[in-house]
């Protein structure tokens, strides 16, 4: 019984509000770091900046953080 409870606690650890919120912040910060050049909007005017794989990673990170934020807000 005790081991079953421990197992369940370990499995639900990632779904705790604090943990999801912390990871959401990490993902958001990481996303903005990788997006860097795209944040200001100058990227639209400057034709030197082309498509960058790192910017795409930043975008995906922000997407992940949005899911985690939604989960941590929704969870009671």
């Amino acid at each position: 019984m005790k081991t079953k409870t421990l197992k369940r606690n370990r499995e639900n650890f990632l779904k705790k509000r604090k943990v999801t919120a912390a990871f959401a912040v990490i993902a958001l910060v990481g996303g903005f770091i990788f997006l860097n050049r795209g944040i200001t909007g100058n990227i639209i005017l400057d034709s030197r900046y082309s498509f960058n794989a790192v910017s795409l990673i930043g975008l995906l990170l922000i997407l992940c953080s949005s899911v985690l934020i939604a989960y941590s807000i929704k969870k009671r």
Partner: protein, 210 residues
């Protein structure tokens, strides 16, 4: 531990991946890549098998193949398409300018519950089959070990090994077809987000630093 078919699948995918990554630039680099790919695949499978054992199940590894290519019922090929063997080489041609960045998701796994799982875990006949949640945890264990190996490789001073681990984790995290990412995504979305965050941060730093 590994049956004959699994060993053949691992060896084939190791050779294909090492070839696609290096294109046998020099034999030294090729063997370095070969050893790196073998270690990362072996670690991934081993951890999955251990996790499956923990959930009273069996994991069988095979080369990634798909038959169906669309939403409609008749959209499928007569013979399974060996995507795990062909995608790495095809991606090397398409993504050639980005050094050693090739499609690395070549192995998938099937999970079967052991016969005594029902009686042992949740009472007779309840949850006797594997739940999507548990399959997701098994897949996640493989991704996690690759990320840990990448960190160890980076700290010890093996940049290529570190890179390959991150690429392998990244491609396996894609939620498509029968890949690990799909199993995690439909098993536990939050866990997928956690692992995707870690993998993407690692991938970003791979492009910027390593």
């Amino acid at each position: 531990m590994l049956n004959k078919d699994e060993i053949i699948a691992v060896l084939i995918s190791t050779i294909i991946l090492a070839f696609s990554i290096t294109l046998i630039e020099t034999w030294k680099i090729f063997f370095y890549a070969l050893a790196s790919v073998f270690i990362l695949l072996f670690a991934n499978i081993l951890v999955k098998k251990i996790t499956a054992f923990y959930y009273d199940a069996e994991v069988e590894v095979k080369l990634w193949e798909f038959k169906r290519f669309g939403f409609r019922q008749h959209w499928y090929t007569k013979k399974p398409f060996p995507a795990g063997a062909l995608f790495p080489i095809a991606s090397k041609i398409v993504l050639f300018p980005i050094n050693s960045f090739v499609w690395m998701a070549s192995l998938v796994f099937d999970v079967k519950a052991k016969t005594y799982r029902a009686a042992k875990r949740h009472g007779l006949y309840s949850f006797s089959e594997m739940t999507e949640d548990h399959i997701g945890y098994i897949a996640a264990a493989g991704i996690a070990i690759n990320l840990i190996l990448a960190l160890i490789g980076y700290l010890v001073g093996f940049p290529l090994f570190s890179k390959l681990n991150i690429f392998y984790a990244f491609f396996n995290m894609l939620p498509i077809s029968d890949l690990d990412g799909n199993k995690i995504f439909f098993g536990n979305l939050v866990l997928w987000c956690f692992l995707a965050t870690l993998t993407l941060i690692a991938l970003g730093y791979t492009f910027l630093l390593v």
